[in-house]
C-alpha cells in the first residue's frame, strides 16, 4: 500500500485544502464546502450496497470480499463501512473522501502505465484486512464517522480530473474494495469523460465483483503481502488464496496489472518464499508482469523490526529475475538502479526514474528506442481507454 504521507487523516485539512482548492477551482467542491462550512466533518454517506445476499431474520451475507461477513441487523461487516439496515445492506462511504490529492502515477506504484503522468487519488475510511504494518492505518483502520471527510459525487470527481487534464483517477491509500460502489460509479463517470481509473488494492475481492469492476478500470495494482497463508493469517488477518485468485482473474481479464511485495525482515523475506512467488507469478501472469519489491519501515503494530536491508531487496529482485520475470523493481529506495525499466533484450534503460522525475526518452512508441523490442505496458491514454472498452464490450 502506498503511504498517504501528507494525505493522512490527521493532516487532511492541510492537504485536502490544497487538493480541494484545485477542485474548488473546477467547481467540484464549492457546493459541498459551502454546505459544510468549508470544514471536512466525520460523516457517513449511505447508499445501497451492490453485493450481498439477504438471510433470515433481517441478516445479510456480504458477497463483496472473501470474508463473506454475515451481518446482523444494525451491525457492520469487518470493513467497518458497510451496515445492515433492517436486512438492506448499505455502504456508508459513497463518496465521503477522507483523502484527496494529485500524485505521480509512479507513487502508486504503476511503472508501466502512463509514466510521468499524474493521478487524482482518493480514499475513504476502511479496509477489509488489518495488516500490522499498514502505512495508512489512521484511515484504513477507522470507521467513516471517525475521520474527517468531504462528499464528492462521482461525476464531479471525474470532471475535476478532466478539467485539470489529469488522465487518471486512482482509488488508493486505504482499501478501495470497501468503497466499491463509489469506485465503480466514479470509474464509469470517468470513462465517459475520457479519464482512466486505477485501483490500488490488496486484491481481497470476490470474483464476480472484480469482473464487473474491471469493465470500468484501466489498471490494477495488487499488494501481494507474502506467499504463505501463515503470513496472511497472522499478520494481515486474511487469507492468501483469494488474493492469488484475484491475480488469476486479472490475468484472465487482461487488464494491466502490477504487483507489489513489501518485504518485511524475518516475516516474508525467505529466499524460498520469494522464489516460489516469482515462479507462481511467471506461470499465472506471464514474464511481463511488473513486480515491485518494496522496503518496509517500522510502523503501526510492527515497530520492533528494522527497515528492510537493501541487500534483501536486491536478492529478492535477483531471484525473481532468475525465475524469468522481466520487469522487477525495487521500491521505497530512492535513486536505486532497480527503479529503472530496462529493455530485456539490449539491457538499455528505457525509462529512467530518479525519485518522481521520469525520463522516458528510451521508450519510443512502446518499444525500446535502441533495439525496438516491444516493452509491455499502457503507454498512451488512448491505449488505456481502448483496452477498457474491449473488456466493457465483453472482450
Amino acid at each position: 500500500m502506498e503511504a498517504t504521507q501528507s494525505q493522512s487523516r490527521r493532516e487532511f485539512l492541510k492537504v485536502a485544502g490544497a487538493g480541494a482548492c484545485a477542485l474548488c477551482a473546477a467547481g467540484v467542491l464549492a457546493r459541498a464546502a459551502a454546505a459544510q462550512d468549508d470544514e471536512p466533518q466525520p460523516q457517513v454517506a449511505m447508499r445501497d450496497a451492490m453485493w450481498f445476499d439477504a438471510l433470515p431474520d433481517k441478516a445479510v451475507r456480504c458477497t463483496l470480499c472473501p470474508r463473506e461477513c454475515v451481518v446482523a441487523d444494525l451491525e457492520r461487516g469487518y470493513c467497518g463501512v458497510r451496515e445492515n439496515h433492517g436486512g438492506a445492506y448499505k455502504t456508508l462511504v459513497y463518496g465521503n473522501l477522507c483523502s484527496l490529492n494529485t500524485d505521480p502515477i509512479e507513487k502508486k506504484p504503476l511503472f508501466h502505465y502512463l509514466p510521468g503522468t499524474a493521478a487524482l487519488s482518493v480514499a475513504t475510511a476502511g479496509c477489509n484486512m488489518e495488516c500490522r504494518f499498514c502505512q495508512n492505518w489512521e484511515i484504513s483502520q477507522f470507521r467513516p464517522e471517525q475521520v474527517k471527510s468531504r462528499i464528492v459525487a462521482p461525476a464531479a470527481l471525474a470532471g475535476a480530473a478532466r478539467e485539470r487534464q489529469v488522465p487518471t483517477l486512482a482509488y488508493t491509500y486505504s482499501e478501495p474494495v470497501v468503497f466499491y460502489e463509489y469506485m465503480h460509479d466514479a470509474a464509469a463517470a470517468a470513462r465517459a469523460q475520457g479519464v482512466g481509473s486505477v485501483m490500488i488494492s490488496n486484491g481481497y475481492i470476490r470474483e464476480p465483483a472484480l469482473r464487473k469492476l474491471c469493465e470500468q478500470l484501466t489498471a490494477v495494482k495488487v499488494d501481494l503481502k507474502a506467499f504463505t497463508e501463515k503470513f496472511y493469517r497472522e499478520v494481515c488477518a486474511a487469507e492468501l488464496a483469494p488474493v492469488l485468485k484475484t491475480l488469476e482473474v486479472l490475468a484472465d481479464v487482461g487488464i494491466h496489472t502490477e504487483v507489489v511485495v513489501l518485504i518485511i525482515p524475518t516475516l516474508n523475506d525467505a529466499v524460498d518464499e520469494t522464489r516460489d512467488m516469482a515462479r507462481w507469478l511467471l506461470k499465472t501472469m506471464g514474464p511481463d508482469v511488473p513486480v515491485h519489491f518494496s522496503r518496509f519501515h517500522p510502523i503501526y503494530r510492527i515497530k520492533n523490526l528494522p527497515p528492510t536491508p537493501l541487500a534483501t531487496l536486491e536478492r529478492a529482485r535477483k531471484e525473481a529475475m532468475d525465475a524469468g520475470l522481466r520487469y522487477v523493481y525495487i521500491g521505497n529506495v530512492p535513486f536505486h538502479e532497480g527503479e529503472h525499466t530496462y529493455c530485456p533484450s539490449c539491457k538499455k534503460v528505457v525509462i529512467q526514474r530518479v525519485g518522481y522525475r521520469i525520463d522516458s526518452s528510451g521508450l519510443k512508441d512502446g518499444k525500446c528506442a535502441a533495439c525496438s523490442t516491444p516493452i509491455p505496458g499502457v503507454w498512451t491514454q488512448q491505449q488505456a481507454l481502448a483496452q477498457r472498452a474491449r473488456r466493457g464490450s465483453g472482450g
Binding site: A72, L74, Q141
Partner: protein
C-alpha cells in the same frame, strides 16, 4: 431437568451454606491443613416481577440494586456495599450497551444513583457508549455538562481528535485499538452496565463484550466467536485496571436473534445480575440464556455452534473464573435458574 453443570453450581451454593467439610470422610479432611482455597467469585442474581415491568422506574430498580450490592459485598448497609467497589475520589464510567436491545435506562440510572451511597458525586459519573445517537435512540437523555450525572457518547469528544478515541494505538494480545477517551481521559473506574442478550457471532453479549464499545475498531474482532478478542480488550490495563463491577440488565433479556432487538425472543426474566468478577457474571448469564433456549425448544448456544469461546480466554488472562465450582451464585427472589 437440571444439567450437571447447573447441579454443580447449586451444590456449590448449598455446600457453602452448610459447611460441607464437616461431612467429608476423614481422608479428605486431611486436606484441611492445606492453604485455604481461593474465595469463590460471587454472582448475585436478584429477581422480581417488578423488574420485568415495562414501566420499571429507576427508583424501583435502585431498591433491588441496593439489595444485590449488599449481598455481593456481605454488607448490611448499601453504603458499605458500594464502598467496596467505588470511592468518592473515583470518576466512574457506566458503560451501557445501546446497539440493538439496549441496557434499560432505569437500570443504568439506578446504578448511577446508587453510587451516591459510596459518596461518588453525580457529576463524577458518566453513562456512556459509542455514539450520542445510539444513546438517544435507546432512551437515554444526553447531558454533556452540568451538576448531575452526565451521559454522552465517545463521539461527543471528537473535537479532541480521532473521533473521540485516544491518540495512541493500544495493543493487548491480538487486538490493536484506540480506546475511547471517556475511558482514558474521563474515568478512573468503570462499571459494565450490560444487557443480557443472544449474539449471532459471540453467542452472548454481557459484561465483557460490552467493552467492544470502548474501542474504535470492534468490527475487526468478530471472527472466531469474538475470541480471544473480547478477552484481549478487557485484559488491557485501560479496562482491567478500572473495571470494578458488572451489572447485567436481565430484566427483559433476549434468548435468540440478537444482538438486534427482537421482541418475540425477549422474556420477562425480571432479573439483575451483579458481580465483581466479569467472567463469572458472563458464565452465569450464559447459563440463564441457555436454560431459556432449551425451555423454548432451541439448541443450546454450544449446540448451535456458538459456544462462548471468549470465556476461556478471559479466564486465561486472569480476568476471573468461568469454573462453576469456583462460582457462588446468591439468588434473591425467584430462583435464578427458573426461567
Amino acid at each position: 431437568m437440571v444439567t450437571r453443570r447447573e447441579f454443580l453450581v447449586e451444590v456449590g451454593v448449598a455446600a457453602a451454606a452448610a459447611g460441607a467439610a464437616a461431612a467429608l470422610p476423614r481422608t479428605l479432611r486431611a486436606f484441611d491443613v492445606a492453604p485455604p482455597a481461593p474465595a469463590k467469585s460471587r454472582v448475585v442474581v436478584i429477581r422480581d416481577k417488578a423488574l420485568a415491568a415495562e414501566d420499571l422506574s429507576a427508583a424501583k430498580a435502585r431498591e433491588f440494586l441496593q439489595e444485590a450490592a449488599k449481598a455481593l459485598g456481605g454488607a448490611k448497609k448499601p453504603g458499605d456495599a458500594w464502598a467496596k467497589y467505588f470511592s468518592p475520589s473515583d470518576r466512574v464510567g457506566i458503560k451501557v450497551n445501546c446497539l440493538g436491545l439496549p441496557t434499560s435506562p432505569p437500570v443504568a440510572l439506578a446504578l448511577a444513583d446508587a453510587l451516591g451511597a459510596a459518596e461518588v458525586a453525580p457529576d463524577r459519573i458518566i453513562i456512556w457508549d459509542r455514539l450520542n445517537r445510539e444513546l438517544a435512540a435507546a432512551g437515554y437523555e444526553l447531558r454533556g455538562s452540568g451538576a448531575g450525572v452526565r451521559c454522552f457518547g465517545t463521539d461527543a469528544l471528537a473535537a479532541r481528535g480521532n473521533g473521540g478515541y485516544d491518540a495512541d494505538i493500544a495493543t493487548s494480545g491480538e487486538i490493536g485499538s484506540l480506546f475511547s477517551r471517556i475511558v482514558t481521559d474521563e474515568t478512573s473506574a468503570l462499571a459494565s452496565a450490560s444487557v443480557l442478550k443472544d449474539h449471532n457471532l459471540a453467542g452472548l453479549t454481557c459484561g465483557l463484550k460490552n467493552f467492544f464499545g470502548a474501542i474504535h475498531n470492534p468490527n475487526k474482532y468478530h471472527s472466531s466467536g469474538c475470541s480471544p478478542f473480547v478477552a484481549d480488550v478487557c485484559a488491557h490495563a485501560n479496562i482491567r485496571g478500572r473495571l470494578r463491577l458488572v451489572v447485567c440488565d436481565a430484566t427483559r433479556p433476549q434468548y435468540h436473534g440478537g444482538p438486534p432487538s427482537r421482541p418475540r425472543w425477549q422474556w420477562p426474566y425480571g432479573g439483575i445480575l451483579v458481580g465483581a468478577d466479569p467472567v463469572a457474571v458472563d458464565r452465569i448469564a450464559a447459563m440463564v440464556l441457555d436454560r431459556k433456549r432449551k425451555a423454548e425448544g432451541l439448541k443450546s448456544l454450544e449446540e448451535d455452534g456458538r459456544p462462548i469461546r471468549y470465556l476461556a480466554a478471559a479466564e486465561e488472562r486472569g480476568l476471573g473464573t468461568a469454573d462453576l465450582t469456583r462460582i457462588e451464585v446468591v439468588s434473591i427472589g425467584q430462583p435464578w435458574m427458573d426461567v
